[in-house]
């Protein structure tokens, strides 16, 4: 199998019945998804189970994947749902019907245009202070700064409007800044 093939090309082969090729997708995404999951849980066994479940669901639902779209946000969407389930079970998180951030329209922030050295700084601080930020803001910060996804991809993964992604990023950074200043951590 050509390792230069895109994810979407491999998905097409899997959809057509070559299940062995699914192994390539596992190889490509296992580490990324583990890194993503580790930001929400430190329990190694939990992470292994979640990753397995993510791949099982990916395989079961692979025929619903639209080949015109990118595979990466799709698989992260499955991971997002699995991690939410784990957090709900473990931390007994309430299941809010309405998240105020998603109810009303927000102006789209211009921050997305300046991915720069500032972002490396945020990434560094984020690793130190991640646990101090609620999962709602944490996830957007991880997807943007660590997984380096754009607003549209994050919106497709979490199923929130693009403008809400901007709002959560902004608030997440404010929380980060405030925590850093309270704990004498150098940030900006």
């Amino acid at each position: 199998m050509d390792n230069q093939q895109t994810d979407e090309e491999i998905v097409k082969i899997v959809q057509n019945g070559d299940s062995e090729s699914f192994g390539i997708l596992i190889e490509r995404y296992e580490e990324k998804l583990k890194r993503y999951a580790r930001k929400f849980s430190s329990n190694t066994e939990d992470i292994k189970d979640v990753i397995q479940e993510i791949f099982i669901k990916t395989y079961s639902n692979i025929k619903s994947f639209d080949l015109e779209k990118r595979f990466s946000p799709w698989v992260y969407r499955i991971a997002h749902n699995e991690l939410i389930n784990v957090l709900r079970k473990r931390d007994k998180l309430p299941m809010p019907f309405f998240d105020p951030d998603t109810i009303f329209p927000h102006p789209i922030s211009n921050e997305k245009t300046d991915r720069s050295t500032k972002d490396d700084e945020t990434k560094r601080v984020l690793d130190k202070c991640l646990e101090k930020i609620s999962p709602k803001y944490r996830e957007v910060l991880i997807l943007y700064y660590i997984e380096e996804m754009d607003y549209k991809e994050i919106s497709d993964i979490i199923h929130i409007p693009v403008s809400t992604v901007g709002v959560r990023l902004k608030r997440g950074k404010e929380i980060l800044r405030s925590y850093c200043s309270d704990n004498n951590i150098d940030y900006e």
Partner: protein, 237 residues
């Protein structure tokens, strides 16, 4: 287990289970049916909301909502009281369910929730008004009991049990008999077509003899009995 072994273990375990047939790909038709089911559920919920909305409008009209609207704040409170609580809870539950269902569609999350929610409310309520004249509404609404007390000041309702010239004896929902007088100079009984058994809502003040001088009234259950709900009369003082 080192990192490479662990990596291979997840990959190998999953591929082994796929080969054994423990993990299977859902066929395309599964997703088509799932989407179709979602659409059917959304449409059914929508129809139910529209129908219940229309039912509420019909019910309120039959119970003097227009009359109560002319009775100030107390009248507004009465309008809320007039809708059976179960209907309000049912409508709220249906709005919750339809919002949950709509959120499952890919187009829904791209816009703030308020848009899809308002869209559903406006369309369903609009459709509810459209259904308002449906004969089935009559059958459902007319059978419902109207057993709440009114909060609007000097406003009463009950069933006519006796008519003598301009004096009308009315029994309210608590079984109490109310003696009322219609102003004879501006009221001709035969023109109003009031008769024993009619349910009316009326406003007026009690005099020293505890007789209520009716200043305005409206027949209830017009949608059920064929009278005009706009046939409202206010007497000159």
């Amino acid at each position: 287990m080192n990192n490479n072994e662990e990596k291979n273990s997840i990959k190998n375990e999953i591929l082994k289970e796929i080969k054994k047939g423990d993990i299977k790909m859902h066929p395309k038709i599964y997703f088509v049916l799932k989407s179709a089911l979602l659409i059917v559920v959304a449409v059914l919920l929508f129809i139910l909301i529209a129908y219940l909305t229309s039912y509420s409008i019909f019910y309120l009209e039959n119970n003097g909502a227009r009359f109560l609207l002319r009775s100030g704040l107390g009248g507004l409170v009465d309008i809320f009281h007039a809708v059976p609580l179960i209907l309000i809870f049912l409508l709220l539950l249906l709005f919750y369910l339809i919002e949950k269902t709509i959120k499952k569609f890919n187009f829904a999350y791209k816009r703030p929730l308020i848009y899809s929610f308002l869209f559903v409310v406006i369309i369903a309520v609009g459709f509810g008004f459209f259904l308002h004249k449906n004969p089935l509404q009559k059958t459902l609404s007319c059978g419902l009991p109207q057993n709440h007390n009114l909060n609007a000041p000097n406003t009463f309702k009950g069933e006519i049990i006796e008519i003598n010239e301009n004096e009308i004896k009315i029994q309210d929902i608590n079984g109490e008999i109310i003696y009322t007088i219609m102003p004879s100079e501006s009221f001709k009984m035969e023109e109003r077509e009031l008769e024993r058994g009619d349910r009316i809502i009326f406003r007026g003040k009690r005099d020293d003899k505890k007789i209520i001088n009716i200043s305005s009234f409206q027949k209830l259950n017009c949608g059920c009995e064929g009278c005009d709900p706009d046939d409202f009369r206010k007497f000159k003082p």
